[in-house]
């Protein structure tokens, strides 16, 4: 069955899936190398589960093809692909003990019991469930069930592990613990892991590469660092914590080899930043993280704003303010500011990303 075991890359070529007239997935194309941990990131309903189910063979594709090296696999039945899948709702077999759940894939592969037993115990030990191995899934907590689902998927030593929001049902603390565990399991297996999530923190902390989906199409593919520092679109910037999005008038634009420096005018003040490609039209949006904005002197580049609210955040204060034209601003401040006071806020140009304003 595991004829796929020694492949080098997984490649999706223009994969699409329609439900009636609705395009749940459009022309998905990317390539993943062995050993990579890739996150599929996007808001609810953007087609993440659909993509995963197409790769797992649980949902036929409407067009396009999926390849392991030069072997086409989208025509194979799910049971012939040999991928491990962790389901959004775990899908544990309720009538089998933890041990039997974990051993199910090996039984289906007719692995002799003497060889299967140590592999099952190893998978159970990996997720630290030795003490629960005899229990039925109904007798486990949500976090334990989730770990059984992972153990069951990895017990067959799959070349590809697919996880569909496996941590979405867990509390914040357990989620952090499980993140580390999933990363450790991935490194132990040396396989490809495709991890679906709508939580950018999870994607940033776990993945080697992130595929951002929106409305069934790829918006951006990049490393966590690339996505964090240079989101390709305003909506991704929003996702990545660029909470300030200030609409202004374009006043100057200079193209450098790698990027374009622009100036944006807000009333009588100006901000400078960078953009990936030349912005057309008179309007543009400057995206800035709250922690990258600081109070500057009256003569420096920046925008004037009136402080609306301020709250204590441990190491610093977090303030919201509004500009003369009504746009909201968020920034971190070392001091407790007076409500209603006017401050000038600036940001160094490499932290100001400019996008075309529609």
């Amino acid at each position: 069955m595991n004829a796929n075991a020694s492949f080098k890359t997984l490649r999706l070529d223009q994969v699409g899936r329609d439900f009636g007239a609705m395009h749940a997935l459009r022309d998905l194309s990317f390539e993943i190398a062995r050993g990579e941990f890739v996150a599929l990131l996007g808001p609810s309903g953007c087609g993440k589960s659909t993509a995963l189910n197409c790769i797992a063979g649980l949902l036929p594709t409407s067009h396009g093809s999926i390849w392991l090296d030069d072997r086409r696999i989208d025509t194979l039945a799910s049971e012939d692909r040999g991928f491990g899948m962790v389901f959004q709702n775990y899908a544990l077999f309720p009538h089998m003990s933890v041990r039997d759940n974990v051993g199910f894939g090996l039984r289906m592969r007719r692995v002799p019991a003497t060889q299967a037993a140590p592999r099952i115990e190893r998978a159970i030990a990996t997720v630290q469930l030795e003490a629960q191995a005899h229990k039925l899934p109904g007798q486990l907590s949500g976090g334990q069930q989730q770990r059984v689902a992972i153990a069951r998927a990895i017990a067959i030593d799959p070349p590809l592990v697919l996880m569909d929001e496996p941590l979405s049902n867990l509390d914040a603390k357990l989620r952090l613990e499980m993140r580390a565990e999933i990363r450790r399991i991935h490194q132990g297996l040396g396989c490809i892991t495709i991890y679906v999530t709508h939580d950018q923190d999870e994607a940033l902390s776990l993945a080697d590469r992130i595929v951002v989906l929106r409305d069934g199409a790829v918006r951006q593919i990049g490393t966590p660092q690339e996505l964090y520092a240079k989101p390709a679109h305003l909506d991704i910037a929003d996702f990545m914590g660029f909470r300030n999005q200030l609409r202004g008038t374009l006043v100057q634009q200079n193209a450098f080899p790698a990027n374009v420096s622009v100036g944006l005018q807000f009333g009588d003040s100006t901000l400078f930043g960078f953009t990936r490609e030349t912005v057309s039209g008179g309007q543009a949006v400057a995206a800035i993280r709250p922690e990258d904005m600081q109070i500057v002197g009256a003569g420096e580049a920046g925008v004037d704003a009136i402080v609306d609210a301020i709250e204590y955040r441990g190491r610093s204060f977090f303030a919201s303010a509004h500009m003369k034209d009504g746009q909201k601003l968020y920034f971190a401040s070392a001091d407790r500011l007076e409500l209603g006071s006017v401050v000038r806020l600036g940001a160094s140009p490499q932290h100001v990303l400019v996008y075309s304003g529609a």
Partner: protein, 294 residues
């Protein structure tokens, strides 16, 4: 005003509140229509004409014409029930995946609304000597061996029980089948299980308890066969089922005491079978058929 909670609150804490009162009509109805006649029948069965206590029961086990009805009824009810289950499971599995479930379910359920007598009449016309079915068989030369018949014998009753029992069995089975999380099958598939293995290792164990219940209900229904055994079978021969014996005792011999005894025996046989099946069910997994949270 005392410190103790009001009577009403105290009663509610013990499970008696306004809603409990709503159970009253149903409880009275059950007592009046079920418990009383049953108790009275039981009492009557021990008051035979000859004045002894167990006279009816002794007579029943001494007379082959009477005790053989048990075997005849079981010989009809058990295979029919098993066959219905056997058909219902795959059909339910298919229907579960269909988009036009409603339409198909309606068609399959139609025989329930027809009633046994109408089905029997239809079968007499269709399978009878002058019916289409037999005439077609004659035309293609398949029914030339003289004694082949599908009515007024065992098979007539058998077929009618299948027709009237299947929808019932099917509907129950469908509800159990749809209660199984489809993600379980997908999970089994990703782990390498083929369709047959998925059915055997995942569906069957989860379905077994429901199948036991379905079996009991379908069996009890088939065991009480009366109209079709009379209309489509041989009421004095191979389909002389136990309800016919009871009927004859009551309305041909006017021996209500004997009829009650036969009814009690009938109930006892059902009880034995149902208890046996439920005991087997107790050995199977009976928890929820979902795969986890969410």
């Amino acid at each position: 005003m005392s410190d103790a909670p009001a009577l009403r609150t105290r009663l509610a804490a013990r499970g008696f509140d306004g809603i409990t009162l709503l159970v009253l009509p149903a409880a009275l109805l059950i007592a009046g229509l079920f418990i009383y006649p049953f108790a009275y029948g039981l009492y009557l069965s021990f008051r035979p004409k000859d004045g002894s206590v167990f006279g009816n029961y002794l007579k029943f086990i001494a007379d082959p014409y009477l005790y053989e009805t048990i075997g005849r009824t079981l010989w009809l009810a058990l295979p029919v029930t098993l066959l219905n289950l056997f058909f219902a499971v795959p059909v339910a599995f298919r229907v579960r995946l269909m988009h036009r479930q409603r339409l198909l379910t309606t068609i399959l359920v139609l025989p329930i609304t027809l009633g046994t007598v109408l089905v029997a009449e239809g079968m007499l016309n269709y399978f009878g000597p002058q019916g289409w079915f037999m005439r077609s068989l004659h035309l293609i030369g398949l029914a030339n061996f003289g004694s082949f018949r599908l009515v007024h014998n065992y098979w007539g009753v058998f077929i009618s029980l299948i027709i009237t029992g299947f929808p019932f069995t099917f509907l129950l089975t469908l509800s159990y089948v749809t209660g199984i999380d489809p993600a379980l099958e997908q999970a089994a598939a990703t782990l390498g299980a083929r369709a047959m293995e998925r059915f055997r290792a995942v569906f069957l164990p989860l379905l077994a308890p429901g199948m036991a219940i379905t079996f009991c209900l379908s069996f009890v229904q088939a065991y009480a066969v009366f109209p079709s055994a009379v209309l489509l079978g041989q009421a004095s021969g191979e389909t002389r089922v136990i309800s016919i014996a009871a009927y004859q005792a009551a309305f041909e011999q006017y021996d209500y005491s004997m009829a009650s005894a036969i009814a009690m025996i009938m109930a006892a046989v059902q009880l034995v079978i149902v208890t046996a099946v439920l005991a087997l069910r107790a050995l199977a997994y009976r928890g929820p058929a979902g795969g986890g949270k969410g």
